[in-house]
């Protein structure tokens, strides 16, 4: 099962994207656990994830999260801006898969 963590300022705007991503994963028959947390919990929750995606308005967190994520050998990136704005579950999911594939 793929575990994708989304991090945002308070987890509000990202929750819509989570739903869309879950719907897309289900539609292609893949099992995925996708959840969103605020930036304060992200470092702890990373331990459970295969990849971390950050909301674009918190892009300045990337460096700090990458350091933490390196401990678990997982990748971190900023969610594609258009995918985030249009709640494009497919695009965000594919971005997450690509990040996981390079492990």
């Amino acid at each position: 099962m793929k575990k994708i963590l989304l991090a945002c300022s308070s987890g509000m705007s990202t929750s819509l994207l989570v739903t869309k991503m879950e719907a897309h994963a289900a539609s292609i028959g893949e099992e995925a656990k996708i959840w969103a947390v605020g930036q304060d919990q992200a470092k702890k929750e990373m331990a459970d994830a295969d990849v971390v995606l950050i909301g674009p308005q918190m892009s300045f967190l990337k460096g700090e999260f990458q350091k933490e994520a390196a401990k678990y050998g997982i990748n971190v990136d900023v969610i594609d801006m258009m995918a985030y704005g249009l709640a494009d579950g497919k695009k965000a999911y594919e971005q997450a898969l690509k990040l996981m594939g390079d492990k």
Binding site: L16, P56, S59, L61, M81, G85, L86, A87
Partner: protein
């Protein structure tokens, strides 16, 4: 050019966001948040405009007295929560026993607080703490004291100057003894500061900090020009895709929150509200009208008057969240970020609207926010009414949204034309 500016701004945003002290300050105010919401609910309830029509004057007064302690117990002593919060979260960030850090910070604050009430005429009353020293007036001293106190505490702990209990002693007891020496050292520092200030200068730290730091800073922050500058930077940061409020609030919140508590104190006393600018003003009259940049008006403009398929799709997605003032779909979907075509309305309309709101209130047409906390996710018009306890507060927001609509319209039309042509070209190519 935008790319270079973005590369410059992102690390600054990161540094501000990750700065230990600013993060702790943010968390400490978050601690006070549920408490102030509670207090605010009762201020709103006991001041609903139609109450005097359904209750006799006597029962209204009884109602107000009975339920009137929710606000003093929360907003009225907000410095207490902020001080404890800072002590707690700063200690936590250093991985030392946080609850002792909080308690020690609180006592440090009390050690600097005069336990005497000096009325204008008449004898001083001993063994009381004037309430406002625990509220608005003590805010900046509280913040400074808490940071200093927690720093001393954690340094002593980290240097291992503690009493270590033998194993077998229950952890709570061991922790209490471990905190003993750091507490003694920290508290003695503040006791001595107070001795020095009262014996040598015949004053107290509350008054010193209030006159030297709090009053000037808060006075500065309550002006329209610094407010417009803050709005400008919030918009610029969002233009580069960075969360403008998180960054600007970390600096301005201490001032805006203090202004809010001062307003609420006056309001619950029946006095005129002293400040127009306050935290609720920023939340209700900037973010609270459809999100940063008041984009709900933009959403309506697109849905009603624009023809581009892509824009309408974005606007449809943005309508639901926009009603609750969440507008990331518009910011990243239109997009607003890095889009030179809309930088003019994006920066200009919030500044103009803020100016309009300020003058509506300073001229007395609309009452300023009373100081109650209204969550910024409450929809527009409702949040304006709740914050100002008047219909005029809501109507002002509608006027403001109309102004935003008018400013954005020509720019949206330009983008619309460009998009429509692109969409038509794609259709022609496909057929």
């Amino acid at each position: 050019m935008f790319e270079k500016l973005s590369q410059y701004l992102v690390p600054i945003a990161g540094k501000l966001n990750n700065n230990r002290y600013l993060a702790v300050l943010r968390d400490a105010f978050m601690l006070a948040f549920p408490l102030t919401i509670f207090g605010s609910i009762f201020v709103v309830l006991t001041n609903l405009p139609f109450l005097d029509k359904i209750m006799s004057e006597e029962s209204l007064n009884t109602f107000r007295t009975l339920f009137g302690n929710a606000s003093p117990a929360t907003m009225g002593i907000m410095s207490v929560f902020v001080v404890f919060g800072i002590g707690y979260y700063l200690s936590k960030s250093y991985d030392v026993e946080a609850v002792f850090g909080g308690a020690i910070a609180l006592v440090s604050f009390l050690l600097l607080t005069p336990f005497v009430l000096q009325p204008e005429n008449g004898e001083a009353i001993q063994n009381v703490i004037p309430l406002d020293r625990l509220g608005a007036k003590g805010m900046f001293l509280g913040m400074i004291t808490a940071f200093l106190s927690a720093e001393i505490y954690r340094k002593v702990v980290q240097k291992n100057i503690t009493i270590k209990m033998p194993p077998g002693v229950p952890p709570a007891v061991a922790k209490s003894f471990a905190a003993l020496i750091p507490a003694l050292i920290t508290l003695t520092v503040f006791l001595l500061i107070n001795v020095f200030v009262t014996a040598v200068f015949d004053t107290n730290m509350h008054d010193v900090i209030y006159k030297a730091i709090q009053a000037p800073l808060v006075g500065l922050g309550s002006g329209i020009i610094p407010t417009l500058i803050a709005v400008f930077f919030i918009q610029i940061l969002w233009f580069f895709g960075l969360h403008g409020q998180i960054i600007i609030n970390s600096v301005m919140d201490p001032i805006w929150n203090t202004l809010q508590v001062e307003n609420l104190n006056a309001y619950t006393n029946g006095d005129p509200v002293p400040h127009i600018i306050s935290k609720p003003f920023m939340e209700i009259y900037t973010v609270g009208m459809g999100g940063t940049g008041m984009t709900l008006a933009v959403v309506f403009a697109i849905l009603l008057f624009m023809k581009s398929r892509q824009m309408k799709q974005v606007a449809k997605l943005g309508l639901g969240p926009g009603i609750f003032n969440v507008n990331e779909p518009i910011i990243f979907g239109l997009p607003i970020v890095m889009n030179p075509l809309i930088i003019v309305p994006w920066i200009l309309s919030p500044m103009i609207v803020t100016l309009v709101s300020y003058f509506a209130m300073s001229s007395g047409m609309v009452p300023p926010p009373t100081g109650v906390t209204v969550p910024w996710t409450v929809p527009v018009f409702i949040n304006g009414m709740m914050a100002t306890n008047s219909i005029a507060g809501g109507l002002l927001q509608l006027v403001n949204m109309a102004i935003v609509f008018v400013i954005w319209f020509p720019f949206l039309k330009v983008i619309d034309r460009v998009n429509v042509k692109k969409e038509q070209d794609e259709m022609n190519k496909a057929s």
